[in-house]
Symmetry: C2
Subunit: 358 residues, 2 copies
């Protein structure tokens, strides 16, 4: 552990987030949903999507742009599909509702394809795709988001970082495939960190206000899509961002790019579009999870260019992080995160975080 | 038109390919399927997937690794899914069968998800996803392929270029969204062309035999995934190649990476895995095609970095190419392609290609 960090047990952090939400009069089961999604983000090592985002959820609840209670509503339904109104509830509430519905439909019809409008930020996309795993199903999830990503050749942000996720069950222990990726080349966080450290970034991550790639994070105007500039196939990443937009806002009728509210706007309902898919592998060739296990094994045993950096399967870095957390007795947060949490504890008059080393 | 090229009307080229296949005793309807897919590739400007590939199909038929007649077989079925054995028939025959099935299921259940094993090279993935458009459905298609793409950190090719395609109908004329992309950073063809011209290629396209990126196409050992090296998020492209592999061979039980036969092997059945999806947008928010049209319009009117290079929607470059073909009276082929076709005409004793300028 580093001197400037503190360790917080998973359950302690979940209760902390839940308690803040309950103080805001959020339905306790909704508070629980949010806490579980955010802390799962931190536990898996995706700190940008965990405690770090709590203030966004607090502000949305305080402004009333995100609702404290209620239930999502199914607007239209077939044996394999559903269109859902998230009723401006917390993203994790909408996401869990929709993914459970997709799972139920996949068990009945082979595939469940559920699209929501009226949702909010739902944390890590992987949380929802992974819900399918305990049912031995494949899961997918998608969300649109506030504009950050410039289409190839454009000077302006248009799409969000529009993540997509696929989880697929393996027959080996701790071996599930979990892809959870933004369709931008990198997350905004990486650019912000470089900017704070006054470090250069590789060309191809961001464009300046003239639409030229820049290696100076201070010139950030928009993120480039996966692939970077046009000559290195950035138009493919742009196409994937569009695919996510089509599966979310265009199918769902929510706010659509480039008109999704900006990241700093808490006064407008986010009205995000999200898509959740479950697929039953038993409807296809028998032995899916064994083949998945074989694929993963074959990948991990590929000869690496650097013997110290073995070939990984999607989900391995997160498993390594969770193992480290378990060994340490909790999640390791930067001291600044703990200080922020202490301020929130004071503000909401709840018990401060109890770290395992103080 | 350039001096070293010839123009061939679309129907003339289709008949030419069909006639070769009929001389090989291929079922005439299968010959027609193949001709339509390959010439559609050329017409849309994807010359690497058209006439250019004819010899691969001829060799597979001659070797008997690709079957001349028969029908694909549905092995398992639900209202929304099907598992199909392609019975080693031509890829376009399997693809058309599966996509028609997916479309039928999407009309009944909202989604049709069809996975095939026992298939062969099916030409451009976009051909199948676009089949959904005339039914006002969204279409998707995926295929695995011979190893060419090295996973992040690996020194060896493992996946194929594993393409994915999404087509979505717009309410405006000639405005459908058609994404059709390999999950490698570039196609092998671009590296081969640079090698012939003895030109450098950008770092991040290929690795050499030690797994290092190289700007010398002569050092080509494997393609990198979309995103390039690890530091520019190549692991995302690697994840997308894995996603395509999961949707094809792992769901379908076909030959799976890295054990798919090599490009030069015509003695083993390809046994490719392919996946075809159709989605009925009427199962979700009303007005899908109008929103699609709005999205496309908003993208095309974004301010470009270079006024001479406007922002495009996926499908626009292909529409421009088809318009050029229509104005010229046919598809413009390099003279070497025509010479190759003349040799085939002699070999198979069929009428040589009649170009519009000779």
């Amino acid at each position: 552990m580093m001197a400037n960090s503190r360790i917080v047990p998973v359950e302690v952090m979940k209760n902390f987030i839940k308690n803040i939400m309950i103080k805001l009069n959020v339905d306790p089961s909704h508070a629980e949903n949010l806490a579980d999604v955010l802390v799962t983000g931190d536990y898996r090592g995706h700190f940008s999507h965990g405690l770090n985002r709590i203030e966004l959820y607090i502000k949305d609840i305080q402004q009333g742009t995100c609702k404290k209670d209620g239930i999502p509503k199914i607007l239209k339904e077939t044996s394999a599909t559903a269109w859902v109104d998230g009723n401006a509830l917390l993203g994790p509430v909408v996401g869990k509702f929709c993914m459970e519905l997709a799972i139920k439909k996949a068990k009945e019809s082979g595939v469940g394809w559920v699209v929501a409008k009226g949702s909010n930020h739902f944390g890590i996309a992987g949380y929802y795709s992974m819900m399918a795993l305990s049912h031995k199903l494949l899961g997918m999830s998608f969300t649109n988001a506030s504009p950050l990503l410039a289409p190839t050749r454009s000077t302006e942000a248009f799409f969000g970082t529009n993540p997509l996720s696929l989880s697929a069950p393996s027959s080996s222990k701790n071996d599930d495939f979990v892809l959870d990726m933004a369709t931008s080349v990198v997350a905004l966080g990486k650019v912000e960190i470089a900017n704070r450290k006054e470090e250069k970034i590789p060309h191809g991550w961001v464009i300046d206000k003239n639409g030229k790639t820049s290696d100076d994070p201070a010139n950030f105007h928009a993120l480039l899509p996966l692939g970077g500039p046009e000559h290195s196939s950035g138009y493919k990443g742009y196409g994937l961002a569009a695919l996510v937009e089509i599966f979310t806002s265009i199918l769902g009728g929510s706010a659509m790019a480039p008109n999704v509210r900006s990241w700093s706007d808490n006064h407008t309902e986010a009205n995000l579009g999200q898509c959740f898919i479950a697929i039953n592998p038993d409807c296809f060739a028998p032995g899916f999870s064994d083949r998945m296990s074989e694929l993963n094994h074959n990948l991990r045993t590929q000869k690496p260019a650097d013997p110290d950096r073995p070939v990984l399967v999607h989900g391995d870095p997160e498993r390594a992080h969770m193992q480290k957390c378990d060994q340490q007795g909790g999640i390791e947060y930067h001291i600044n995160q703990i200080k922020m949490a202490d301020k929130l504890a004071e503000q909401f008059e709840i018990e401060p975080l109890k770290t395992i080393d103080n």
